[in-house]
């Protein structure tokens, strides 16, 4: 089994190396590592400046990255397909504010002075989690299924 795994891993590494080395790689220059202009406070609407353009690299309308209320709640799709585009404005520590793997306090406490940010578990979530956990435990699983669940174990043994 171990040998099979090593071979699989080696196969992926060699395959990727081959792709990098050969002419299959796109000749396009990489897009800017950082947004050329500093953005103001609040949620940016990319399409206000980039009206009908396609985002370089992502090849999608800039409107796909507008930080609407819906975008903030469902940003997993964009993070999955276009992490590089996210990185032009956000350092990874921004993601780590919530998706840390292991964090010493809930984000709503850490950012108690930022009520404008959509932070999970505001207020007495200890009481509310009994209900939300029964209504949809799969929403808990995203963050607590394999990580961030030290405190869960205190009761859920």
């Amino acid at each position: 089994m171990a040998r099979k795994t090593v071979l699989q891993v080696l196969g992926i590494a060699l395959g990727l190396g081959f792709l990098m080395a050969c002419s299959l790689v796109s000749p396009e220059t990489s897009f800017a590592a950082t947004h050329p202009q500093e953005l103001g406070a609040g949620r940016p609407m990319c399409s206000e400046c980039h009206s009908t353009d396609l985002a370089k690299g992502a090849l999608k309308p800039y409107a796909s990255f507008d930080h609407t209320a819906d975008f903030v709640k469902n940003h997993k799709y964009q993070a999955n397909q276009d992490a590089n585009s996210c990185a032009s404005c956000h350092a990874q520590s921004f993601c780590t504010d919530c998706h840390g793997g292991k964090v010493p306090m809930k984000p709503a406490v850490r950012f108690g002075d930022r009520p404008d940010r959509d932070m999970p578990h505001r207020g007495d979530y200890m009481t509310l989690h009994r209900m939300e956990g029964k209504m949809d435990p799969s929403s808990c699983y995203t963050c607590h299924g394999r990580a961030n669940n030290d405190k869960c174990r205190a009761c859920h043994r």
């Binding site: 089994m1 795994t5 891993v9 992926i12 590494a13 790689v25 220059t29 990489s30 950082t34 953005l39 396609l54 690299g57 992502a58 090849l59 999608k60 409107a63 796909s64 609407t68 209320a69 819906d70 469902n74 997993k76 964009q78 993070a79 999955n80 590089n84 350092a91 990874q92 520590s93 993601c95 780590t96 998706h99 793997g101 292991k102 964090v103 010493p104 306090m105 108690g112 002075d113 930022r114 009520p115 404008d116 207020g123 007495d124 509310l128 209900m131 029964k134 209504m135 949809d136 435990p137 799969s138 808990c140 699983y141 607590h144 299924g145 394999r146 669940n149 030290d150 174990r153 859920h156």
Partner: protein, 464 residues
Amino acid sequence: MKRRTHVALLATLMSATAWGQEVSLYGTTMAQMWKSETPGFDKATFTPATQYLGIDATKLGTDRLSLHLFGWGRTDLGDASNFDGSKDGSKNGGYLNYGYLRYRFDRANAEIKAGRFTVQQSTGFEQVDGVAARTDLRGGFTVSAFVGKPVLYKTVDPRDQHDYEFQRDVIFGTRLGWRLPQVGEFGLSYLQDGTKAAKDLTIPSPVDYTRKQLGADLLVAPTATFGLRGRTVFDIASHEAQAPGAPDRSRVAEHDYTATVKIGSQVTVSGNFAERNFFAYFAGTNLPSLFRQDDRDMFKGWGGSVTWNTPWSIQVVADYRHMHRELYGDVNRMGGELRWANAEKTIQAGAAGHYVNAAKTLLVDSATPYRSLKHAEARLWGMVTKGKFSASLDGILQRYSEANPHLNGLTNVYEMVGSLGYQATSSLRVSGDLSYGSTPVAKSETRGLLKAEYRFGFGKKGGQ
């Protein structure tokens, strides 16, 4: 990975920052204090001090090489608050959230990462100690892959700890995407976490921590006014045979799709559908007692929202969601939110209200009638920044059914958080938060928090 290895790796990475021509260091120092008077427990005073620290060092010898580190440490000055789940009552804790070297190529948005990093692709969100690479290909294709040792969180039952580490020996995954201008993107991904499935061990383990998943994701966005995003994840691991006569388990771990339509420049309408089958979706959990891989149980939800960005700087959102769980029945969540900000965004305010109707819920447990899920929530907040000073106030109220037997007779649970901040210099901000609330456990609870945030160096986007 052993603690000594962690320290050696961290020391090596930290020393590498000395080569950086542009080094950005940012951190937050926090001191908290609260007292606990829970009936049946000893009184305790908690005063944990927490330090977050991040470093971004770019141009390490070459413009393309950079180093990124972020982690936290904590110590309790009073009673042990056990934030990090230490089982020995330790007052200290810490964690390296990420620490990796990144080489970014000039062409094809190609990059290679090595160290501890996070990976998000359609099959999940993983923390890995290893190597990752991605590049764009000709014809709109993209490819990415990663391999390494999965970060272990050590929260499983100590009796199973050996199995947990043994089964999760390696993690790897890959994603192939295809981008079509004016159409969207389609992706196919694979993830394998661990190679030693519980059923294949010499002495079969009671819990399987391994996963094999295949994912498909898409974005269809032919115009700036319409977008359909989503993903489907399949469980492709082989499992022990089911008992004769048992209903077939679904191989679909998850469907999750959202469509968005923009009407004019002010209104956005979105709709979402999600389905998750727990046997497949909860595969690989390290908390199987909570996330039970029930053969039959599943979640199905659908709903939508309408957002209106009015010409008066007010954003209005109305939302609705219907949730169905096979074992517990149906609930409906509905509500709305208002947000306002002045042009300079120095004054912001918001209000929100939501109601959960659980009239069609089945019996949740023998002691709890269906009303145990019914509740309402209201929130009101405001923020002001004037010169170097800032202030905020945030109040949240949750109202539960009187018939709920778990709330010690309480129906209203609330919390208020007030904060004052001062931007001492362009690199340093200090603030203090005071919160007061009532919970079914602590009749009243007061918490204090002092915070110093600082940022030095050239980096512009850290923490943004």
